[in-house]
Amino acid sequence: MEFLSQTWPWYVSGTMVALVLFFLLWFGKEFGTSANLRVIVAALGGGKFADFFDFPWKTQIWNLTFGLGAVIGGYVTMTFIAPEPHFADISQATVDTLNADYGFNLTYGEVPILPEFFQSWESVLTLKGFIIIVVGGILVGFGARYAGGCTSGMAISGIANMQLPSLVAVIGFFIGGLVMVNYILPFITNL
């Protein structure tokens, strides 16, 4: 079981992601986790405020069930497969960059999975935490629906289905991500 609790290499997890896509297609569904957010807003009564949420969301309960499975997967992994402390196996170069320019104080090989601003809910009460959690969440939620999908629906399912719009959206993901990480993020993480 020891290998299970090490960081899974990309070719293992890449294969597993493809397996998830296979199962969902086989069940006659699509792989798209951000679509779940629209389902939740619709289930909460969003259809009363915007037509976009006035759709037969109950046909999408399978996706909520998928989300529930992911929640259970997170719980089981943390509790049984990779009990704390579990370190993120990021590169020395990344540790050096974060320490030099982004106000972090990390030690290579001992980087926690979650940065301090994600370790407890109270961080949302700080300016840095508020920007990363609340502003970041709103941008991701808004952008995912505007673009019509996120990493699972666009980058993986969409490109695998040779959809040019998905490729354009993923190029957009990278333009936004590169601008954020290189030009905006240093001012936020140094707060």
């Binding site: 957010l37 909460l44 499975g69 997170g74 943390m78 970041g136 695998a160 959206a169 333009i175 590169l178």
Partner: protein
């Protein structure tokens, strides 16, 4: 019980993304800094194997579990939404280091900060729905 299979697939997804650290803010930062192949390997392998899988279903070599032809919808070719929406998503992804699927897994760890993050995702989703007819697609 028809829903059980979706729980199992979500469970597989949850363990995988956790154990390969795709839900770590640090991994997304590293990806946008091009300092590791890890995330590109995961997404790239998902796309390559996914293309093969998609082709098997599209060509009818594999039918759905109910024995039916699996249908795929082509995405509409109107560009502003993919470019502007994609950039907004990317700004958020680079900032918070989380894409929507990861949030469900992280909520499973019992950390309430991700419930707050989910609420922010829902607010963003709602804002899109409310503004949809006023923004270019």
């Amino acid at each position: 019980m028809k829903q059980l299979k979706f729980i199992l697939v979500g469970f597989l997804f949850g363990i995988t993304m956790y154990m390969t650290e795709a839900l770590s803010w640090f991994r997304i930062f590293e990806m946008f800094k091009f300092q590791s192949f890890h995330m590109y390997g995961i997404i790239g392998m998902g796309v390559v194997l996914g293309a093969l899988i998609t082709w098997l279903f599209k060509s009818g070599k594999i039918k759905s579990i109910d024995g039916e032809q699996v249908k795929f919808n082509d995405k509409a070719k109107t560009w502003p939404r993919y470019i502007i929406g994609g950039i907004i998503f990317g700004l958020g992804w680079g900032l918070s280091g989380l894409c929507p699927g990861m949030v469900f897994i992280l909520i499973g760890t019992g950390n309430m900060v991700f419930v707050i993050f989910l609420v922010a995702l829902l607010i963003g989703t709602f804002l899109y729905g409310a503004l949809r007819t006023k923004i270019p697609h």
